[in-house]
């Protein structure tokens, strides 16, 4: 016989309390998540495919290409990463195309936690929030993956230390992974508590918080119903962004999964007026694909989401393809990989 749903009290995360009421328990969370409307996979994928057929030309395309760059978390997450590699990544983030200085800077560089000091040092004065009152600041943030990325298989103590370490070293954004094992076995409360705790670990000494991106690793959740539940869960627990993937598991970001997560974010906004960000990561390599994501954002949650506080691409090779397309638009002929820098 299945054990009864535990009724243990959960940490009173502010959003969850607002949505589910004050006496937040594992049971109330589970009932809420299980009560979400289902997803029909065929219909979702057809809608995503339909959005993918939108055709973007000339001026819209130039706008879109620059927008993609501004939304990129330029990423290096390799066991072989070195300070030199990170410096080179930062250089690319600051000057994506040395032959065309009109190319905008990316939103952030995304590195492992121990590389944060190197990224911060390399950015120097250019380190900061890419968005300011006038829109674009020209600054670049530092994002760090944490919580025993990518598997998440470590004790909460280690995950929190990992997070706090990155934040104290100057990370502006933390990309955490959820415990997929706990989620798939129905221990939603555990996943929830971990996100709440990591969020708290994002707190800086001055009381401000590093922005928290919650990676669902949709490739391991496998069903769209799970993706919807995990998205809600991550938002309820206080995530500033919901992110598809670590990039280490296939499939990583797909258009249908991103569409579904945008629909959750849209529904959250309809309910609360509060905007949550979305970050598809992994597998988006071409401008053509990235434009499909922009279209999907614009037609699902609206164009106001196309800014670095609400949408990011987690990518590495995408940037160079965008630069090649930019060169094509400005010169009228196709460019080649020898005309963008390798980093």
């Amino acid at each position: 016989m299945q054990s009864p749903i535990p009724s243990a009290a959960l940490a009173p995360a502010e959003r969850a309390v607002r949505m589910l009421g004050g006496d937040l328990t594992e049971r109330s969370l589970r009932l809420h998540l299980e009560g979400l409307s289902g997803v029909d996979a065929v219909g979702l994928e057809q809608r995503a495919a339909g959005l993918g057929t939108r055709s973007i030309k000339t001026t819209s395309k130039a706008w879109a290409l620059d927008k993609i760059i501004e939304l990129i978390d330029l990423t290096t997450l390799e066991g072989a990463d070195t300070p030199g590699k990170v410096r080179s990544l930062v250089a690319k983030a600051l000057t994506p195309d040395p032959s065309d200085l009109t190319a905008p800077r990316v939103a952030a560089v995304c590195v492992y936690g121990d590389m944060v000091p190197d990224a911060v040092a390399a950015l120097g004065a250019a380190h900061g929030d890419p968005v300011n009152a006038s829109g674009r600041s020209g600054l670049v943030s530092v994002a760090a993956v944490a919580t025993a990325f990518p598997s998440g298989r470590a004790s909460l103590r280690v995950k929190l230390a990992d997070t706090a370490d990155a934040v104290s070293n100057g990370a502006d954004e933390i990309d955490m992974v959820i415990d997929r094992g706990a989620f798939l076995s129905g221990r939603y409360g555990e996943v929830f508590e971990q996100i709440v705790a990591v969020k708290e670990a994002c707190r800086r000494s001055d009381g401000s918080y590093a922005s928290l991106k919650v990676i669902l690793e949709t490739g391991e959740l496998t069903t769209y119903d799970n993706v919807r539940r995990a998205s809600w869960l991550a938002i309820l627990a206080g995530g500033d962004f919901i992110k598809t993937s670590t990039g280490k598991v296939a499939p990583a970001a797909t258009l249908p999964v991103t569409l579904l997560m945008l629909e959750v974010v849209r529904d959250w906004y309809r309910l609360t007026g509060e905007r949550v960000g979305v970050k598809p990561a992994g597998g988006i390599r071409t401008s053509k694909d990235a434009i499909k994501y922009l279209v999907t954002v614009a037609e699902t949650v609206g164009e106001q989401w196309l800014q670095p506080h609400l949408f990011r691409f987690g990518a590495s090779s995408l940037l160079n393809d965008v630069l090649l397309q930019r060169q094509k638009l400005s010169t009228g002929r196709y460019s080649g990989p020898d005309y963008v820098t390798l980093d």
């Binding site: 409307s37 030309k57 614009a298 609206g302 164009e303």
Partner: protein, 494 residues
Amino acid sequence: MAKDIVPSDLAPAGATGFLDYAPAPESTSILHLQKSYGLFIDGAFVKGHGRPFASISPATEKHIAEIATATPKDVDTAVAAARRAYDKTWSKLSGADRGKYLFRIARLVQERARELAVAESLDNGKPIKESRDVDVPLVAAWFFYYAGWADKLDHAGLGANPQALGVAAQIIPWNFPLLMLAWKIAPALAAGNTVVLKPAETTSLTALLFAEIVQQAELPNGVVNIVTGAGETGASLVRHPDVNKVAFTGSTAVGREIAKAVAGTGKKVTLELGGKAANIVFDDAPIDQAIEGIVNGIFFNQGHVCCAGSRLLVQENVHDEVVDRLKARLATLRLGDPLDKNTDIGAINSREQLDRIRELSDIGEAEGAERWTAPCVIPENGFWFAPTIFDNVSTSSRIAREEIFGPVLSVLTFRTPAEAIAKANNTPYGLSAGIWSDKGSKILAVADKLRAGVIWANTFNRFDPASPFGGYKESGYGREGGRQGLAAYLKAGK
């Protein structure tokens, strides 16, 4: 759900550069049209003896080409050609060879797909993304599917060695001009019949391009004949004494006339007529997909679809949420140039049809239903009607009973499955219906009780050559598609 956020909050910002996608018009340069088109009889284009008429683009009202009118005498010539072809060549060919001709046609359609799509959108007004991604691929699929049947008729379900009927008179509507042609011609030819087909007056163009394909496929002369003209041409074709089969797709009123005209003549008849489909949304529906399905159900092809989900039946406890979300979604639809790849809603096919949609919509308003129209800019020229929803429609309202054949959705509510079924069936029509629910047993039980020929569950407006299509009650009789569609052109062997 909370209603403090109005749907327009989620509508695209519009004014900024991105969502006003730069125009992406499909090039018309691949299309080589003639100034005027004759009738296609006995393998050649010939002059019609009636007064020619102009085919115009409904999006711009610009002249496209001059189309011939077939007189009763022309119809006579066409039927005689079809009879000759039937007697002398087509009925003597092996099924395998008939199949090979149909495979050729399927391939030629695939090869000329883009050209046909452009012509269809130009002449009919439907968005290029629909003609390109739905109509024309289905045309090829239809010929491909029935090509395979031509030498397998023993498996068609009529026993061994079934026989063709002879000459088929086929009359098709303007909403899916080339697709309806394929639905008619492919099974008829596979079964061994020859045909005389009359396209709708406002959309003859792709049928005439198809005649070129028939020539390129080297189909024997007279096997396919195409006569253009208005209702009188169709009437003389239906009444022609040497016709063995009448297949008609169009309005129930004309279908009724045809059924009367052929009474006692021994002609076999299939009719695919109007509809007023219920699209039933239960409270356990996959909500975002249901919204897409509602949109696709009624706004696909500007609602010029006989099986359109024109009556939205929503479970009362989710009515507000569904309507809210629907309005937000409709605000992202793009109405405009049918040849623009980003257009979702094209032009209404004719002024006459536009007038009818306007008239019925005004009646709906007068009868007290709540009218909501999607915010969109209507082009100056051409025939246009913005996507429109009528909420709080009563079952007795005319917009809940009559086929509008346009982008107009009537929203009604129900409380229990039994009520949904009763309301869905409460119409003289019975072509199609939709059911939205995550619960399989409910879907199957409701589907069982609906009096309609096609039931879509968690999808809408899906078509496939392998799937029979056709209506109950005043939506007609006979089926097109699948084995059943083949049987409509066969009789049992002796």
